[in-house]
């Protein structure tokens, strides 16, 4: 009997990629009220990867010709304010079986800055807090495969997966573009995971036994769209509410945001009348 793959897919609710973020009046954070939010695009990739692993293990048209571990359960998790349930519903519409929402009230969070953070300052968990939480969830829910987006498009830390692997003492593969399972030993039922990673100017392939943490990069797959019928079906799936205390995690912040600035506005180009005008302009700029 081979080891089943119990997958955890942590997801984050972020400002939609198509929205241009605005800095708030006090320059302490990004304006998030009445802004369209959606599932972090890199987390969509990891969800899709999890769902495809299951499809490859089930009999049917998408069944893989190679041996694949069975996937009894895909668990999605998100930590944040009440509205995170929206992205968890999307995650379940894409194929996760159940979800856990670790509710963090932005006002009374245990992660509140001890010095009393400035008005409007973000109280969301830092990557370390998320990694500690995930490590506890992995233990509580008996997971052996965590697949998460390499980073979120809001604070772009690219740390959570690495920290989680460190806390758990598991193997990790970051920036995955391909994930393949190989049976280890004849009939022993262990699995090796072969992951091709995006690195500067090429790819790198690594192998690790389960359990393992994988973070996903853009070229891994093409995430499916959470269609209306699937969103309706997802409403019947189980969504548990938990708190940081349930997992005994202190989400205290170690960093304090001092100031948030918008990037400098791009200066418009100028037009020149003719070739001579261009040459004199280039000379002026010291380009020739």
């Amino acid at each position: 009997m081979s080891v089943p793959l119990k997958i955890l897919v942590p997801v984050k609710r972020v400002i939609d990629y198509a929205i241009k973020p605005r800095v708030n009046a006090t320059h302490t954070a990004i304006e998030t009220t009445n802004v369209k939010h959606s599932l972090n695009p890199f987390d969509e990739l990891s969800l899709e990867a999890a769902v495809r692993l299951r499809e490859a293990s089930l009999p049917g048209p998408k069944k893989s010709p190679h041996p694949t571990p069975s996937v009894p359960d895909i668990l999605a998790l998100s930590a944040g304010p009440a509205k995170c349930t929206d992205v968890l519903r999307t995650a379940m519409a894409m194929g996760a079986d159940r979800a856990i929402h670790v509710e963090i009230d932005p006002k009374t969070s245990s992660g509140k800055d001890k010095e009393g953070g400035a008005e409007g300052e973000s109280q969301e968990l830092e990557p370390l807090g998320v990694a500690k939480l995930l490590a506890q969830v992995v233990k509580a829910e008996d997971r052996n495969f965590v697949i998460l987006g390499k980073q979120s498009i809001d604070d772009d830390s690219n740390q959570t997966g690495q920290m989680l692997a460190g806390l758990l003492g598991w193997g990790q593969a970051t920036q995955a573009r391909d994930i393949v399972f190989e049976e280890e030993g004849e009939g022993k039922g262990g699995w090796m995971v072969k992951v091709t990673k995006e690195v500067d100017g090429g790819v790198e392939t690594v192998r690790s036994p389960l359990p393992m943490v994988v973070t996903t990069d853009l070229r891994l797959n093409e995430p499916r769209y959470a269609s209306l019928p699937n969103i309706m079906k997802a409403k019947k799936k189980k969504l548990e509410k938990k708190s940081l205390e349930d997992y005994g995690v202190d989400g205290g912040r170690r960093l304090r945001v001092l100031r948030v600035e918008e990037p400098p506005a791009r200066k418009g180009g100028g037009k020149v009348e003719d070739v001579d005008g261009m040459i004199s302009r280039l000379k002026e700029l010291g380009a020739i």
Binding site: Y17, A18, G201, L218, E222, Y225, S227, L228
Partner: protein, 85 residues
Amino acid sequence: MALHPDLRQQVIHIYKELLHLGRAYPLGYHYFQTRLHRAFASQKDIIDENDIKKGIAKAQYVRKEIEALYYLKRYRTLRQRYNNS
């Protein structure tokens, strides 16, 4: 009075699905919704079963195209932002 109750259901179903997709349309929901409504209304007189089935197939095709459009738009934006090498 519906001639083809099953097909009628299917048409309503795909119309709703497309409307749902339209919420994320880059040019705005209103742009999408008016055009979608016009496209469906222009076909209201077809009564032949095969014609209706063709219409549904076309709507399904459009749905897939729009999903692909969304995916590509997001993929390209993200690639530009993160893999600009």
